[in-house]
Symmetry: C2
Subunit: 396 residues, 2 copies
Amino acid sequence: MNKYNWTVLKSDKNSKARNGLISTPNGKIETPAFIFCATKAALKSISTDIIRSSKTQIILSNTYHLMLQPGGDLISKHGGINKFMNWEGPTLTDSGGFQIFSLGNGSISSEIKGRHLKKNKSLIKITEEGALFKSYIDGSKHKLTPEKSIEIQRKIGANIILVFDECTPYNVNKSYTAESMHRSHRWADRSIEEFNNNKYFKSSYGSSGKQSLYGIIQGGVYKDLREESISFNHSKNYFGLAIGGSLGSSREEMYEVVKFTSSQLKTKYPVHLLGIGDVFDIWEFVKWGVDTFDCVNPTRLARHGTALMRNSKGKINIKNSIYKENLGNLDERCGCITCKNYTKAYLHHLFKIKEVLGLQLLTIHNVFYMNEMMEKIRRGIKNDNIDFEKKNWFLI
Amino acid sequence: MNKYNWTVLKSDKNSKARNGLISTPNGKIETPAFIFCATKAALKSISTDIIRSSKTQIILSNTYHLMLQPGGDLISKHGGINKFMNWEGPTLTDSGGFQIFSLGNGSISSEIKGRHLKKNKSLIKITEEGALFKSYIDGSKHKLTPEKSIEIQRKIGANIILVFDECTPYNVNKSYTAESMHRSHRWADRSIEEFNNNKYFKSSYGSSGKQSLYGIIQGGVYKDLREESISFNHSKNYFGLAIGGSLGSSREEMYEVVKFTSSQLKTKYPVHLLGIGDVFDIWEFVKWGVDTFDCVNPTRLARHGTALMRNSKGKINIKNSIYKENLGNLDERCGCITCKNYTKAYLHHLFKIKEVLGLQLLTIHNVFYMNEMMEKIRRGIKNDNIDFEKKNWFLI
C-alpha cells in the first residue's frame, strides 16, 4: 500500500497554479506550501511546539550536515528525524549534493542565482562514483555517492527524499553543464536503484522504510538541456519533481528558467523549487505550477533583525532606530505570538541588547507570516483571484 | 488601601523555615520562592509564555541595565515593565547600586562571595550624593543617587523595589565597611523619602505608583555591623528586607553571615537573600528564615550546557561526550517540555552545533527545575520534613 498520494484539488482559471494535497504517512501538505529549513535537525532558535503552532506543514533537513553531525546512525537509533527532533509532521531531506558543491562558495541562494565566484574549498574531487569532500567541521575526508546519499536519507527517514545530484554552478560553460547533467542522470538511476532495494524495508530503521523519492531537473539556463532533463525525469517512476541546478544570474533569467521548466512538467507530479523563497517571487512561481518552496530566508532574515511585513517592500528591519520608541505591534493584522504580545520598541530593544529572545520572536513571526501568505495564495487559487490576494497581502 | 501583604501560612517545626504568601497587585508569591533574572527585561532565550508555563512566580530586572538601555521613560510609556515585556506576574527591581559597584569586578556571585580582586573600572566616584559611573555600553557618564534610583524604579514599575545602596566589597577593612554601611543607611533614608513622595501617585505612570519597598541589611562579615544595620532597618517602615553586602569569601563564612543575619530579623518581614541561588545552599537558607532568592545561575548555567539535575551533584553538563548517544530523557521525573520531548543525545547535538535552541531548551528545564524544587521545599515546610524532601530531591 502506497501511503503517498498527490491530488490536485483545484486549478486556477487564470494560470497554471494549483491547490493540491500531498499525502504522507506523517500527514498531509496542502499546496502551495513553504518548507522551512531545519538544516541540522533544528529550526534555528524555535522549538517544534512553536513550529506547529505557527501553522507549519513541513520542514526539511540537510543530509550533508546531518551525515557529518550527528550522523545518520544516531538519528536512525531514535527511529528517524521525527522522533530525533520531536516533530511529528511531514519532512524532506535533500541529497547532500547541493552542499558539497556549494559550501565554501557563498550562500545557497548565491549559488542558485549564479552569484558565486569563489572557488569551492570543501570539494576535493568529482568522479563517476561520487564526490569526495572535506568536512567543514574537522577537515576529515568523506565520500558521498548516490548509494551512500540514499542510505543516509533512509536512516534519517524523512518522508520526501531526493536523488543525489551535482548542483552545477552558474559560471561554467554549456558543455560542462551538459556533462554534469548527464552524470547527475546516471547518479539518479543509481539513486533509484538504491531506493528500490528493499533491504531497508527489512531493516530496523522504523519509518525510514516509508519514503517517497523526488527527481531533480538539471540543465542550468539552457532550454534544450532542461528539456532533455525533463524527458529523463518524466521517464522515471518518481513521486515528485524538483527544479534544481543554476537558475541564472539575474531575476529575469531565474524567472525565464523557472517559467520554461515548470511549463514543460507533467501535471501528475508535485513540483518543488529548490532553495528559492523570496516573498514576491513565490506569488509568480505558483502561477507557473510550482507547488512547494524551501529557503533559509524567512528564518535567516529574522536572525538579522528583518521582519517580513505586509508592505510594498515585504519587510522592515527592527534594528532601525525609527522603531526605538514605537509602541505599536509589528503587524496589527498578524496573529502570531510576537505580534499579539510585543511592541516594536521591545523587539528593537532585544536586538540592541543582542538578546537571543529577539531573534526567536522574529523567527516566530516570519514563519507565521510565510504560512499565512501561503494560505492566502491557496485561497487565491480556490477563488481564481491570486492577484487580488497578492495586492491585499502587500497592501499595494 | 495597601495591595501588598505578607502572611506566614505555616512555620516549620524543626527550623525557622516558613511557608508564606506575598500578595502584590500582580498576583501572589508563595514562599520560599525563587526569583529569576530577566536582567534587561528578557529572561535570556525564553519567552514569557514559557516562563509562565514553567511555574515561575516572580522575575526581576536590573535598574542599572534598564536605565542605560532602553531607559526608564520608554518602559514607563509602555505602562511599566509588565507590559513592556509581556509578563503579568509579580516583579522586582534592584536599586542599581549593586551593578555600579560590582560590574567590572567579575560576576555578581564573585562579588558577594568575596572572590573579586580586580579594580572596578566603571565606577568613577562615590560621594555623599551618590555614585558617578561610566556606561558599559558607550562609556558615557551617569550619576545614580537614591532619588534617581527610586525615580527610575518608579518608571520601571516593578512590584518590589529596593533602596539605593553601596554593595560594599569584601576586600576592604572593617572601618570602610562601617563607613559604607552608614552612607547606605543615609541613602536608604533618602530612598524612603523619595518613595513616600506621592508625586508619582499622581503621575501618569500607571502601575508605577503601586509598589512596595525593601530595605537592605548591610554590615559585611561583621556581626556587630550587621546588628547595627538590622536595628536601622527594623526602625523603618519597609515592606520587606533583603540581606545584602558581602557574605564573606568562603561557603562557611557565607553560611555564618546568612545564619546570623536572618536569625536576628523580625518575622514580620519577608526576607530576600540577594544574588544567591546554589541549589544546595537554598535548602539550608530557608531553614534560617530566608523566603526568596535570586540568582542568574539557573539560566546562565543552561547557556553553558549545564542542566540542573536531581542527583548528588545537582547537575550534569550535556556537552559531555558520554551523552552523545544517550537516548534517554534528561530527567524521567521532570515534567518540563524539554524532558518530555527530547533525548539527551538530541540536546547534546544542539550544543555541539551551537544551536540557540539548545540553550533555550536547557533554560526551560532549569527554570522548571528550580520552581519544582521550591515547591518541594514548601511541601517540606508544610509537612515538617524538609530534610526528607531534600534527600528525595537529590536522590541522596
